[in-house]
């Protein structure tokens, strides 16, 4: 893509801005901020990746992954406002999903341990874990609020907090996994995912692109499951005090 073509892509943003003004959606400001941020972030990341891939440094690779984890944690933890020390819980869940999926890929030699592979795939794994963590926290809080009576019946029968909120947690984990499961079911039929599209546009064979996409889809599903279950189990006790009373 030439620099001129890149500049022309601004036309898409102009179309959205025009629709927003025409329909009085009041999206122009957010759209402007979002578009500028996206361009700046991607250009910076592009240059950083260019350098990291060139120097092939383990330290730089780990630093890149750590930045991804921290930003993802900050973003997902916003959904758990009001829950004490939720940032640490989200951090542990996202790290667990990254370690589990990336560890398996490296241990089974599915990908080589080079920054090019580890950083690219980690970005997708951590991004998926971030979305799942946000969904889980959102759903867990709304389920705990709407099923308060049910949880208290269990408590009144002598159940532990984990027993009392077991069904609620199950519903929240299930709901947070829906996008990942739906993506598995519809990939290739409804959408061609970003990685596959990118590889095809870069000239790779579609068959080769499909191989990588299968790897990504499976690892994203695993990452989502590990993140959701870890975060659910870690954050459930935050709704109770040490006397097994429902306090949130």
């Amino acid at each position: 893509m030439t620099p001129m073509s890149l500049i022309f892509t601004v036309a898409f943003v102009v179309v959205v801005a025009f629709i927003s003004m025409w329909q009085k959606l009041d999206l122009e400001r957010d759209l402007l901020i979002g578009s500028v941020r996206a361009a700046v972030q991607l250009i910076v990341v592009g240059y950083v990746l260019f350098w990291v891939f060139k120097v092939e440094s383990w330290l730089a690779m780990i630093a890149m992954v750590a930045v991804m984890v921290i930003v993802a944690t900050q973003n997902a933890a916003k959904r758990g406002r009001g829950l004490p020390s939720i940032h640490w819980h989200v951090l542990v869940a996202i790290v667990a999903s990254e370690v589990a999926t990336m560890g398996l890929m490296l241990a089974l030699r599915i990908i080589p341990p080079t920054p090019r592979y580890v950083i690219s795939i980690s970005g997708m794994v951590i991004g998926s874990a971030m979305v799942v963590a946000g969904l889980l926290l959102n759903r867990l809080q709304s389920e705990m609020a709407s099923r308060r009576g049910e949880v208290e019946v269990w408590l009144a029968l002598g159940a532990s907090p984990r027993q009392a909120a077991g069904d609620v947690l199950k519903s929240a984990v299930k709901a947070s996994m829906i996008p990942s499961v739906d993506a598995l079911k519809t990939v290739g039929l409804v959408q061609l995912p970003g990685m596959m599209t990118g590889q095809i546009l870069a000239g790779a064979s579609p068959i080769q692109a499909v191989h990588y996409q299968i790897l990504i889809m499976y690892s994203l599903a695993a990452s989502a499951a590990v993140c959701s279950i870890t975060l659910g189990r870690l954050s459930l006790p935050l709704f109770f005090n040490r006397d097994a009373q429902l306090v949130r």
Partner: protein
């Protein structure tokens, strides 16, 4: 007789946050000795704190200030889950757990890895047919739910019952059957009721609450 109390509440305060952030007192320095024999009824207008007391005794909540003793021991020093198994509570609005009537009846025992030997018999005790064991609990009528909730609590074999308006949503015949069932159990119970006729029939002790305080002990 002093020293023979089931529960002893001393200068108990409970405050709940209002929407504007200030605190609303629900119980205001309430002191009350609940005897260990028979049924103790709590009466009084809505909002006087009757149901709140039951929640405190089941340790679903703790008081903001003051002390509660259960059989002479500070309630807060006891394992709350153990207390709740000893002191069963039946709420005014029955909440059915997911699943069938059988699942609900067995819930309290399942927590401890046990099962109920004859769930149908528990339904019969609350004047319900054993045929409804496999019915979805949430499809029952309000009165049926109330009786299943009572049977669910009784199936755990508690030592004390906390009953919050348990017959309010039942017809006269079912209400009388539940009343008789509770009387036959011969368990100490704390029963919140608005039905003065019922209070006269069942109560060994009656306390009237008003605005979060004990107004008087009424002769049963």
């Amino acid at each position: 007789m002093p020293g023979n109390e089931l529960f002893q509440l001393t200068d108990v305060w409970l405050e709940r946050p209002r929407e504007d952030g200030t605190m609303q007192p629900v119980l205001r320095g309430l002191s009350l000795a609940i005897p260990g024999d028979g049924i103790t009824c709590l009466i009084g207008p809505s909002g006087s704190g009757k149901s709140t007391i039951l929640r405190l005794l089941n340790r679903l909540d703790d008081p903001t200030r003051g002390q509660i003793a259960f059989r002479g021991q500070e309630l807060r020093s006891l394992d709350p889950m153990r207390v709740r198994r000893q002191v069963a509570m039946v709420l005014q609005t029955p909440v059915m757990l997911p699943g069938t009537v059988r699942d609900n009846l067995e819930a309290g025992l399942r927590i401890h890895g046990q099962s109920l030997s004859d769930p149908g018999a528990w339904l019969e005790r609350v004047e319900l047919s054993p045929d409804m064991l496999n019915k979805k609990a949430r499809d029952l009528s309000g009165g049926e739910k109330q009786r299943v909730a009572l049977a669910r609590s009784l199936a755990t074999q508690p030592e004390v019952l906390l009953l919050d308006e348990v017959t309010a949503s039942l017809d006269a015949a079912s209400g009388a059957a539940v009343e008789q069932l509770v009387l036959n159990l011969k368990l100490p119970a704390i029963w919140v009721s608005h039905n003065m006729e019922q209070v006269r029939r069942v109560a060994a002790h009656v306390f009237r609450l008003e605005a979060g305080r004990i107004q008087e002990e009424v002769r049963a």
